[in-house]
């Protein structure tokens, strides 16, 4: 359906560029905004602009932040000799929620993908190497447990081990609350590999 208003058409077009939004959902969102109060629409527009204007990448860890360096990188109470490498900013949020990690982070901006042709020079690998010159003793690789994450882990492991830094990866295995009986072979093999002394 083509709307008689070019403005509405443009808005629908913009919405449907968003991830996971098809043309139908875009129409629904646009029509909803059309009916909403002017103030609501203005708040939404302002929030979008605000994010774009205020949020940037931390010059040290490349996480998203409002001030540079970010609050984690500028925290003297954290262990700056221990860097946890993650794919995306959302992974930092997830790990921070555990309150278990007291080092600092490095956000790669994705994972290597042999099939999509995403190579190391498209990620922040050089930035990571530059950080390692300053007394870093441990790098923890915390990639997603999928093929791309695996590729990234092998690659970074090969790259970092010769530098004499302790390189570890987070364990993979049976999820807490999961049932051993229903775990697939891949999960069980990885869980066995990552076993620890009790």
């Amino acid at each position: 359906m083509i709307y008689t208003s070019q403005a509405l058409e443009t808005l629908i077009g913009e919405f449907s560029k968003l991830p996971g939004i098809g043309r139908k959902t875009a129409q629904r969102l646009a029509l909803h905004l059309l009916k909403a109060e002017s103030e609501d629409a203005e708040r939404l527009a302002a929030a979008i602009l605000d994010v774009k204007r205020r949020i940037r990448y931390c010059s040290v860890c490349l996480n998203i932040t409002e001030k540079d360096p970010c609050s984690i990188c500028s925290d003297a109470g954290r262990d700056h000799a221990s860097i946890c490498v993650v794919e995306d900013p959302s992974d930092v949020i997830a790990l921070e929620k555990t309150n278990e990690f007291h080092g600092v982070y490095h956000v790669l901006g994705g994972a290597l993908s042999p099939l999509e042709g995403i190579t190391p020079d498209q990620l922040r690998v050089r930035e990571l190497l530059n950080r390692l010159r300053g007394g870093v003793t441990e790098v923890i690789l915390a990639m997603n447990p999928d093929v791309e994450g695996e590729a990234t882990t092998i690659y970074l492991g090969n790259l970092l081990k010769p530098l004499g830094i302790r390189v570890t990866r987070i364990a993979r295995g049976v999820p807490v609350g999961g049932d051993l009986e229903f775990a697939d072979e891949a999960t069980l093999v990885r869980a066995l590999e990552g076993r620890i002394v009790v």
């Binding site: 042999p114 099939l115 190579t119 093929v147 092998i154 090969n158 697939d184 072979e185 891949a186 999960t187």
Partner: protein
Amino acid sequence: MSIEKTEAIVLRAVNYRDSSKIVTFYTKRYGKMSAIAKGARNPKSKFGSLFQPLNYLQIVFYRRESRELQYVSSSDFVRYFKSLTSDVDRFSIAMSLIEIINRVMHDEEENEAVFTLLADSLGALDGPDTFPRNTFAHFGLNLAIALGFTPNFAECLHCSEPIDLEKERKVYYVVEKGGPVCEKCTSVLSEGLHSAGAFEISAPALLILRSFTRLTPAAAARAQMEQALRNEISNFVFIYLKKHSGTLKEIKALKFLATSQYDWPGKE
């Protein structure tokens, strides 16, 4: 609509909507096929995590011929290849095999020989004491044969005399015509060979390729040879496949090998 069951190897999986995936399989019974796996990204999904490239699965799906995307309803491992992600070489070659299948094979074109070749080649790559580059060359060569582009390693393209690979040292191979040119004809044709896109290859490399047409993936993967020969045969196979498939221009997965210590086929 019917409920079907087949063995399948995952070629690709992309996220779809909030919690699903669209998975491309190479299946034993239906060739290349794409299907929606509803809720596959939900952490509670029983088999969602299985839909990752390289996994060798048994899948159950709802099939409607008129539909481009089928619905996969359940899945289980046939065999888990646990060592494919253990090093850069093994991993890149494994990914290059599925990338080649994804590019070269068309949708719903069943070819059991190709399926078996892929499954056995991944199995061979997963085994200990194997050479990933051997598998690349063996796979590419036998895929070309399964698709009907059988290379000739026996007789001269020009004079049809048998080529004695034990005696000759270097042979010109005309990739487009899929055959070698003997030493005698080489000196006669000289200039014309270059314009025909002939490719110089050593006789030992051609001997190995000839033997690879008869070996199983497992046997080929263990074949001992100098590293230089391994590069030569994989390079030959890459060029041969590129020429004959028409749809394969580069192999992205092989760029990954740049991070390992050896040369890789197609390296500039």
